[in-house]
Symmetry: D3
Subunit: 136 residues, 6 copies
Amino acid sequence: MPTVKLLDDHTASPEAKEVFDDIRSTRNTDYVNNAWRAQANNPAMLKRNWEKAKTIMGDTGEGSLDPITKEMIYLTVSIMNNCEYCIHSHTHFAREKGMTEKQYNEMLDIIGLATEGNRMMTAMHVPVDEKFQVKT
Amino acid sequence: MPTVKLLDDHTASPEAKEVFDDIRSTRNTDYVNNAWRAQANNPAMLKRNWEKAKTIMGDTGEGSLDPITKEMIYLTVSIMNNCEYCIHSHTHFAREKGMTEKQYNEMLDIIGLATEGNRMMTAMHVPVDEKFQVKT
Amino acid sequence: MPTVKLLDDHTASPEAKEVFDDIRSTRNTDYVNNAWRAQANNPAMLKRNWEKAKTIMGDTGEGSLDPITKEMIYLTVSIMNNCEYCIHSHTHFAREKGMTEKQYNEMLDIIGLATEGNRMMTAMHVPVDEKFQVKT
Amino acid sequence: MPTVKLLDDHTASPEAKEVFDDIRSTRNTDYVNNAWRAQANNPAMLKRNWEKAKTIMGDTGEGSLDPITKEMIYLTVSIMNNCEYCIHSHTHFAREKGMTEKQYNEMLDIIGLATEGNRMMTAMHVPVDEKFQVKT
Amino acid sequence: MPTVKLLDDHTASPEAKEVFDDIRSTRNTDYVNNAWRAQANNPAMLKRNWEKAKTIMGDTGEGSLDPITKEMIYLTVSIMNNCEYCIHSHTHFAREKGMTEKQYNEMLDIIGLATEGNRMMTAMHVPVDEKFQVKT
Amino acid sequence: MPTVKLLDDHTASPEAKEVFDDIRSTRNTDYVNNAWRAQANNPAMLKRNWEKAKTIMGDTGEGSLDPITKEMIYLTVSIMNNCEYCIHSHTHFAREKGMTEKQYNEMLDIIGLATEGNRMMTAMHVPVDEKFQVKT
């Protein structure tokens, strides 16, 4: 039970419909998932967020982060934000792009290690070592 | 101003001192950073967390995640938890292990994209598409 | 499946029943929603939180914040805390008090903008400009 | 001690310099605050986030949210995210745009009320009343 | 650099001054800490939050939670919320009321264990066992 | 719909099966709850987290924290992390170990008080009183 209607090709505005079509052709699929159908209630948001996602998550082919690493970072953020929708969709996308179960488990291990370590440092308010401070 | 004393070789217990020595030999350095000196007040915690960190963050050489990716996942968690100590130390470690500024920027781009997307899905309580649900 | 029973007029204590009655007469409705029925297990909490809500969210008629703005701030907090109950109830209350879909979308835009900006500032630990510091 | 250099007109790239100039002319000031100087290390992010901020926080003159309400929503998000930089800068911006101390106090009251209420609903996992569910 | 003035006996309103005096007599001290001096800018909030704190954190002498346990729960919340002020003040209060370093370490151990376990359950979206569901 | 299979005695690896058996004998029950069945997909994580839980949450009989207090701290963390699974399981465990409804209500009162107080201190960025700073 979302707080807004999930729009489709018939109920979305022409600007939103155009974004739906770009999602379809970019991803080479007929399927537009609920994330975009919800945002279609605010066509300017839909367009802005889709363009950003396309640019940032796309395979830039420029030697920086590979698609699996990108998805794991996205998934890590979603787990930390406790976003049910995003956990499911990006676990799916990461696997679809080739994340192995070994990589998934290792990612979970790091999340567990880091989140516990973070809390301990915060609880004891440990001061940052001088050597970790960037000289600017 | 931490809430506990930062122990050193002279003030730490023998069990804690042993962990300090393992940190030094594993990392090939004389330096034991504040994170461990604070946890030395609880030697069992110190040992448990160091062993875990050594296993999980170490270069396993087994073809799963590489050291830079591991550090970026750790850093992403630390940013999401708003842990000042961990943000500084793991930005340092990631760069030390070879993270380029281009990779750093791309990681930040994904964190920004994901954290905004997460909030929108949560705000509108968007239901998970059936196709994203794992068949178990 | 709540962790406590949702009490009603028959199962609540006399002190809790009194609060239920005040909710009904203040809001001019017969309906007491689940938030209060759950808190009725702790009548002192129920009374304290209802009095606080009545004072703070009520239309004070004194020229400060209007009821729609109040509800949008409440809803923003609920979205940031990822509170499913509160997101649904306060999206409902905000609309009931007159929040338009345009205002709702604009609120979501700001939440998205701010939450991403917040993370970037935290990730890079950007120092506060002197001009933003309050002189006290 | 940020994790990146805070760039200025001399060290920023031409694309970033162009954004600095647009900030200056849009805000009618010579001052470019640290938030933008940090993001200048990633000119594409700088441009994207500035354009978004300009569009969303600008006075659209279209009868939706007024500038003070917008700033209070931004500030509320920043408080919930515990972003020190953003709390200081947006408390400043909100006051600069006319937020009174009475409005500020009322906003804080609502944040306190909501964040406590959110936790109680989450702790007891209170189910959403049917009447709060949007019919879609 | 707080966002508001920290008021004292001379600058606070009479209502706020009255609360300061009650803090002094209840705690048997001359010292009013910054938490209350900041809230004195909103005397109604100051009074409400002080009364609540006095009731909830006071030694009720009724056989429920003892003062050290209460402080440890307060401190745990503060650590999870990453509230620097509250971490320092309530670590102080807990120790003042008799929390031993062994208890402090054990509390930190549990926080570390729980926060990691929480994330793993959230990451894998593990369903609640039927036996853990309250029959209502 | 978890993101991984919930393994059982037939589908778990021998290492995971061994942990299941230790859970059964330690807790004197036949029941292995879903938390462990999910982690069984990563046997090293399962073993590490079970050993840690057994050590930290076990009744050490050494005069530090009692089992009910431990469970209340675990539950408090879970509520702050908004972990649905952990809220249900540890509310169950705390009650099973003897937490009374009066203690439960008092714990909720403190969580409410603290989480609101935390936000107010963060919102106004109140500086830590010198007397709360640990001399190290």
